[in-house]
Symmetry: D2
Subunit: 110 residues, 4 copies
């Protein structure tokens, strides 16, 4: 039995291939598509307090971001939990808990 | 034993709480942070052919996008594979394979 | 005597040509560069109340957005005030004052 | 007689006030709106070669970016050509012509 991430990746490949979309899916345009979905996600919050955004729309736009993020990772044959795990360790080192506590400053301003 | 997604979510919550960052993590700013990371991902490709971008940098910036996407989903207590699965079904209906084949057009132009 | 917009455009062309950057300045990458600067502008506001963002940094990042916007318009040989004027008229028609008053809704939801 | 920039700013203020939109126009959301328009501009180029993007759509989306950029500058009462002029001087110092020639590298990598 597959895990849920592999299931999704397999379905995304099938979705792409049934439409012959591999020709468009170079990593630069996949990253661009991801950022456009990120903007659509932001649009749900535009001119609003955070709690006034419609969760159903947030959910859909966030899903589109994730679907492109998974496809970009898959393009490079990367293991998704592993790349996240590695970056989380890097971030933990960049933002030591005792310096970063209660601060929204960027790591180079801590 | 946890699955890798739950493992990551648990570590992200711990990372946040050790730094008292829950005060900053409203969904509007999480979405904004995600889109800023998406722009940093795009920057790796800027002025370049897709194949000339440095994969190590793509990997790190994509990881940051995913880390914020997971935190935003977690903020709403959503199951991540499930929300992706649902949107993939919606997208499959919006882009019927026979109409969308070989086309980069948006669904409302098919 | 030139007007300030033509002055800026002429300086931007000289800036580009002294560095032989015309080779990179296709409109797709100029638009991408613009959106990356827009994200840097957003980063000044991240995790903050609008009034707590540092105006000096807002000013610099907004300037970078404008510099790329002007270069993109110039790439197409467009008159900048004229294209803005035209779109402002379109927006006024999309958002009739009596319907749009006090509403942050998108035009297709008015 | 007004110059074209002041004309546009005056019309933008009138457009906003006829709709009572000043209540929404804090600088954080104006910057967010600008970045969403920047993403719509990028979408015109998505999955395409730069020369295949529809210029009429580029023109409209670029106009929306500029309209928000002008409104954000006006929110801070800034002189637009002056802030652009200042940043162009900063950029010229960050990217000395002899080092930056033929290079798409960021200033800290020159």
């Amino acid at each position: 039995m597959n895990n849920p991430i592999d299931d999704l990746l397999q379905q995304l490949r099938q979705f792409r291939d049934e439409r012959d979309w591999a020709q468009f899916h170079n990593p630069k345009d996949l990253a661009l598509a991801l950022s456009i979905e990120a903007a659509e996600l932001n649009e749900v919050f535009l001119w609003k307090k955070p709690e006034d955004a419609d969760p159903a729309r947030v959910r859909e736009e966030l899903a589109d971001v994730l679907l492109y993020a998974f496809q970009l990772a898959d393009k490079y044959n990367w293991d998704i939990p592993q790349l996240m795990q590695e970056k989380l360790s890097i971030n933990a080192a960049k933002y030591p808990a005792d310096k970063a506590r209660n601060s929204a400053a960027k790591y180079d301003k801590l």
